[in-house]
């Protein structure tokens, strides 16, 4: 019997390549709440990037003639105790929130994933050692560890990013390790080992790309957490310093003192924090659902 060999061109694509636009359309249809979250996240990013264009006032400019002014046509969200425009400070504050959020989530999730995959790949004593170190960090609640780090390093935006990133690393490492343990047993990893590839190449080129789904989910989940932590640290006076516009910072000091007389000083930054965190969480949850194969099959 003659065997007809198929040409490469005749082999059909197992997974048909679809455009990003189509993928986004499907995501919006299947997960409308996630889409709303994504839109709010996108708006937040845009606002942060264009704050200097869209803000009606300089966020640092004081106006002692308009101290504690209630919301009006001149100041849509009122002014604070120094006569600074609350809306402008919220718009600029999103820049601080996004900077801290993205930096912490990216560095935290990336470092955690690399450590988790490395730990899973080497297994044995290396895994044991890394996991016990991670366990030590995991024994502390996120905020407590961040507080400890920032009290050692001192306040300031750079130190806040470090303080929030450090407690995120072991959490990301734990999740990445659990995914990587399964990947480690895959034949293509064995094949790569057998082919004599170096450990770094196996980890970076064969294992890491296959933990992308949990990585992306962690990234979005950590964004919201980082924004909330930054606001908490700033509220406690350990985050960014005045007069930098930052949402958590706007909630402390005079906002507490004048909570009854000028509630807008606390309400609007509070709403901005809630909305951003809510949006990131919605988007993150929907992304997890979309990328989780078990939920996909259901």
């Amino acid at each position: 019997m003659a065997i007809r060999r198929a040409t490469v061109a005749e082999i059909p694509d197992v997974a048909e390549r679809r455009s990003w636009f189509a993928v986004a359309g499907d995501f919006c249809r299947q997960r409308p709440l996630g889409a709303i979250g994504a839109v709010v996240v996108a708006v937040n990013i845009l606002v942060g990037l264009s704050a200097n264009v869209i803000a009606p006032y300089d966020p640092l400019a004081t106006d002692y003639g308009a101290m504690l002014a209630r919301p009006s046509a001149g100041h849509w969200l009122g002014t604070d105790a120094f006569g600074r425009d609350v809306l402008s400070r919220i718009l600029y504050g999103s820049r601080t929130a996004m900077l801290v959020g993205f930096a912490c989530a990216f560095f935290g999730a990336t470092a955690g994933t690399v450590i988790g995959v490395t730990s899973a790949y080497f297994a044995g004593k290396v895994d044991l050692l890394i996991q016990r170190v991670m366990d030590i960090f995991l024994a502390f609640p996120l905020i407590i560890l961040a507080l400890a780090v920032v009290s050692i390093l001192g306040p300031g935006i750079g130190n806040v990013i470090i303080a929030i990133t450090i407690p995120m690393i072991p959490r990301a490492a734990l999740v990445a390790r659990s995914s990587a343990l399964a990947i480690r047993e895959m034949p293509y990893v064995d094949a790569a080992r057998a082919a004599g590839f170096r450990h770094r190449r196996i980890i970076l080129r064969h294992m890491l790309p296959n933990v992308m789904a949990p990585y992306l989910i962690m990234l979005t989940a950590y964004l919201g957490q980082a924004i909330l932590l930054e606001a908490s640290l700033s509220f406690l006076g350990l985050g960014v310093s005045e007069p930098t516009p930052a949402w958590g910072l706007m909630l402390r000091g005079a906002a507490v003192q004048f909570a009854e007389a000028a509630p807008w000083m606390a309400i609007f930054p509070g709403l901005a924090i809630s909305l951003a965190v809510f949006a990131f969480n919605l988007f993150g949850d929907s992304l997890r659902d979309a990328l989780d194969p078990r939920l996909k099959t259901q």
Partner: protein
């Protein structure tokens, strides 16, 4: 109008006047009885006034003790010295010998009589403490050559040179008179125990909770104290203190509240609350590290002070922070303070801010930084008043092209950084326990003399002026030296920048009478004159 009508009208008017006058008269007459309850925002490390500095010790403990002299409890300036255990005093013509006559019949709480031996032992402990015994204010008495007790009711201080502030230093609210016999047995006994001659006896101290005192029935000042006792409640959180006063669980918190807290208490309690306010003997300063460029250049330092619109800030910041008065080196309204019109001649104190800022820019150009420069302003990590003052300063400096960023450092670490010189420009402050040039100006002497001169400069002229004002016994002559010192410090050399004087606000229950606010929250805490109207 008939005569009868006129007569009736006269009777009515007189009756009205009588009604108005009688209760007021009765109200002003001290009433005995009742327990004063007050909140204290901090707690003492030990009970020994000679070694501690916190008001958290003075407020609950001062009622157990007397001092040789004291500040008049009715004097709002906190500068008028009156007798306490010493009923009279004379000063030699050369100003070097102080002879004080003590009251007779004053008894310690254990019934033993107080004599000059006790006063000598107490002052020996303060001025010449034995090794290992803390006396944080002994530096104020380096001028004391000898302390003598020639008889039971006379105490003599011999000084190495005349010192204008010496009487005031005998009225220090910390210099409690202890019992010599106890000190002889254990010089550290008073760190953990109470035994004084004051108007109130010690009852109990529950750490972290409260301190209780009761009336001393054998107090030497007959008829006083008016209160049956007092209870000090330790509360660190200011919201809790406000809530306690609002709910009438505490009559008063003697240190003070913020303007917002005052307003909230007044709106909640209306006529049930009385508010006393005073300039506070604490000033918000800016230290510029002269070991770092460009702050070694006095033109740059002058530019920093010229940029500040103090008069506008006085109105604006006083709405949100405990600062108010535009001041020089002395609390406004006190004997050595510079009058406002003279103060306005100093750099940065004028009312024409545009002119001041134009001058600031000119100085920066001359100093070689025409486009301004960036620097870090290190601020103390306490919200009130450091944070609002810091925000204001940064905004003011922006107006002349200086780009300052604020780095907030935890309070105790901030002091460490200042001492080590690890800063460029920083907030700085000092609270005096008495308004007295010797105490208030000592800090600004050269760094070799003053260890809290955070500007890290040497200025021999300033040192000489300090000595001259300290030794000038004639008040007018002393005023001249104080003014000269102030002009050199704030204007000619601009070694430091004074922003605004702190402002003390004490809203308290209207029932509390006989207590007068002073510029110092360490003064007037014996409570012997305080009474409750109901």
């Amino acid at each position: 109008m008939s005569g009868l009508t006129r007569m009736l009208r006269l009777i009515a008017i007189l009756s009205g006047v009588a009604v108005l006058v009688t209760p007021a008269g009765a109200q002003d007459r001290p009433r005995s009885g009742g327990e004063l309850i007050f909140a204290v925002p901090s707690e003492m490390p030990s009970y020994d006034g000679h070694r501690e500095g916190t008001f958290g010790m003075v407020h609950p403990l001062a009622p157990h003790y007397n001092t040789l002299l004291r500040v008049d409890p009715n004097d709002r300036t906190g500068t008028k010295i009156v007798s306490d255990l010493a009923e009279s005093w004379t000063v030699s013509a050369d100003g070097r010998v102080y002879i004080l006559k003590l009251r007779r019949g004053v008894k310690f709480h254990d019934g033993s009589e107080m004599t000059s031996r006790d006063v000598k032992a107490s002052y020996d402990k303060i001025v010449f403490p034995p090794p290992g015994v803390g006396s944080i204010r002994k530096g104020q008495y380096t001028n004391v050559e000898a302390i003598e007790a020639p008889d039971a009711s006379t105490i003599v201080f011999r000084l190495k040179w005349p010192q204008a502030s010496f009487l005031a230093s005998l009225a220090s609210p910390y210099n409690w008179i202890y019992k010599a016999e106890i000190l002889a047995k254990d010089v550290r006994w008073y760190e953990k125990n109470i035994m004084g001659t004051g108007p109130f006896l010690f009852v109990e101290h529950v750490k972290g909770s409260h301190w209780v005192g009761k009336k001393n029935p054998n107090y030497w000042d007959k008829g006083k104290p008016y209160l049956d006792g007092y209870r000090a409640i330790f509360m660190k959180d200011s919201a809790a203190q406000v809530a306690a006063v609002r709910a009438e669980r505490a009559h008063i918190q003697f240190r003070g509240f913020s303007p917002a807290e005052r307003d909230s208490l007044v709106s909640a309690l209306g006529r049930k609350i009385t508010v006393q306010e005073s300039a506070w003997d604490c000033a918000a300063w800016v230290a510029m590290n002269q070991e770092r460029k460009p702050f070694d250049d006095k033109r740059v330092r002058r530019a920093l002070t010229l940029a500040l619109d103090r008069h506008q800030a006085s109105q604006a910041l006083s709405r949100i922070a405990v600062v108010k008065e535009v001041a020089g080196v002395q609390v406004p309204g006190t004997p050595y303070a510079t009058p406002p019109d003279e103060l306005e001649k100093l750099a940065g104190y004028g009312r024409d801010i545009k002119k001041s800022r134009a001058e600031a820019r000119r100085l920066l150009r001359e100093a070689g930084v025409p486009d301004g420069f960036s620097f870090t302003f290190t601020n103390r990590g306490l919200p009130m008043p450091y944070e609002p003052v810091g925000v204001w300063l940064i905004d003011q400096w922006r107006q002349i092209g200086l780009n300052a960023t604020m780095a907030t450092i935890e309070a105790s670490q901030h002091v460490t950084e200042l001492r080590a010189g690890n800063f460029t420009v920083s907030s700085d402050a000092q609270c005096g326990y008495q308004v007295e040039p010797d105490l208030d100006l000592a800090k600004f002497q050269s760094k070799e003399i003053s260890h809290n001169n955070y500007g890290r400069y040497t200025d021999k002229v300033l040192d000489e002026l300090y000595q001259k004002q300290s030794r000038a016994l004639d008040p007018e002559e002393r005023k001249r030296y104080v003014r000269e010192f102030e002009r050199r410090l704030l204007d000619e050399q601009a070694h430091t920048v004074i922003t605004l004087q702190w402002h003390r606000i004490v809203p308290h229950s209207a029932k509390v009478r006989g207590w007068t606010i002073t510029p110092s929250h360490y003064l007037n805490q014996q409570l012997d004159t305080v009474w409750l109207s109901e």
